[in-house]
């Protein structure tokens, strides 16, 4: 009877210890995100009108889904922010833009950020975007600091566009911006070479 009790206690202790080990070993830290690549799908719904003065009629100004790429470059623990590279096609080439993801709140497996960036969409279209993001990731079971699945989705998002044509236009609207994880061994085949040159 006493032996059965000892075995039972040992079993419980081993289980608790096992859970503890799993719990601590598999917790990500923010710096584990460094080097993570995402394939980004973005679309816009908005309106535009001739700049004032002289102004003119407002028209629809939507943009179909486009693909871009984003990499988490590094984590600054004192600024609690990630440096990221955002790579977009400007009509003739893939161009990298340096930007920041401030960690607003959350934890390494699920955090919130506000992605703000300005870029030249084409030679005559410049755009500034403000996109709140929820970023999620999971660590590998056998390599605790290795991210094996990740994604992000926007929680709202807006753009402000300036079109520098003969008649200048201004546009505003909402953005959809979602990211899916690119496995490390698939980065070279998936990400355009122009985005990998950094």
């Amino acid at each position: 009877m006493r032996l059965r009790n000892i075995v039972f206690i040992l079993l419980v202790a081993a289980t608790v210890f096992g859970f503890f080990v799993l719990g601590t070993a598999q917790a990500l830290v923010f710096s584990d995100w460094e080097g993570t690549w995402f394939k980004v799908k973005m679309s816009e719904t908005g309106k535009a009108g001739p700049a004032v003065p002289p102004g003119g009629e407002v028209a629809t100004n939507n943009e179909k889904t486009t693909t871009s790429y984003l990499v988490v470059d590094g984590y600054d623990i004192s600024a609690t922010a990630f440096a990221v590279g955002y790579c977009v096609f400007n009509g003739s080439a893939w161009v990298n833009h340096a930007a920041v993801w401030p960690v607003l709140g959350g934890e390494p497996e699920n955090f919130l950020t506000l992605f703000t960036y300005s870029l030249l969409e084409t030679q005559i279209v410049s755009q500034t975007s403000w996109i709140p993001l929820e970023v999620k990731g999971k660590a590998s079971n056998n390599a605790p600091s290795e991210i094996t699945s990740a994604s992000f989705k926007n929680l709202g998002g807006i753009f402000l566009e300036e079109i520098d044509s003969i008649i200048p236009y201004g546009g505003v609207g909402s953005i959809k911006f979602t990211g899916s994880f690119i496995k490390p061994d698939q980065v070279t085949g998936t990400v355009p070479p122009g985005c990998l040159i950094r």
């Binding site: 917790a27 830290v29 923010f30 719904t45 908005g46 309106k47 535009a48 009108g49 001739p50 700049a51 004032v52 003065p53 102004g55 003119g56 009629e57 407002v58 623990i77 004192s78 609690t80 960690v103 607003l104 709140g105 959350g106 934890e107 390494p108 699920n110 955090f111 919130l112 950020t113 506000l114 403000w130 996109i131 709140p132 929820e134 929680l155 709202g156 998002g157 807006i158 753009f159 402000l160 236009y169 201004g170 546009g171 505003v172 609207g173 909402s174 953005i175």
Partner: protein, 216 residues
Amino acid sequence: MRMKKICFVFFIAITLIGFYSIGTVEALQFQDWSGTWFKVKVSEKGKAGPVVSVLTPNGGEVVTNNEKTFDSYLKIQLFDIAGDPPFFLVGYCSFNGSVWATQRDLPMQVVGGEPTRFLALFNFERIQSQNITEEYWVPLEVKGKEASNTVGEINSASFKNLGGIFLEEMGTPVVTQRGVGSVTFTGSLVKGTAEDIEKNVPEGCRLTAPGQAAGE
């Protein structure tokens, strides 16, 4: 026969002049929006999480952070066409948990369009309560119609957001949580005379500086 022709030409000329007059006299100007009041319905949908810091390097769990529809008030104070880009100065009034508080002279950038229908970007900060501050970025489409018998008087107007986001900070003086998400922000004209507006707008919202009385 000649008399008929003269009458016909005269009739056409009068009609054209009439159309021209109506077209020019009734065209709304951006300046005509000054003094316009809107009742604004605002709601938020987002998430929040504990702030990550040197003391709490791994933060904490993200949770839902929505806010049900609440009322606020917005008054267009003036239009500055010389601005680059041109902008309206507006007053925004919301309930901060204990009183109605007005923020004045907030710039609302005019992005494009015409006086009867234009696009704007409204970026401002507000104190939601003693412990919570928020920053909004709200693209707006604003529409208005001029009264047919009073030149420059807007008798119907509204705005709706084309997207919209918020960034929220909770805790003072040390921020302990932050939230982000989307905002809906729609406005309907507060109609009527100065007296009507005084009745319909909370007392704490009425701008009282010279030239900025409620019904102006």
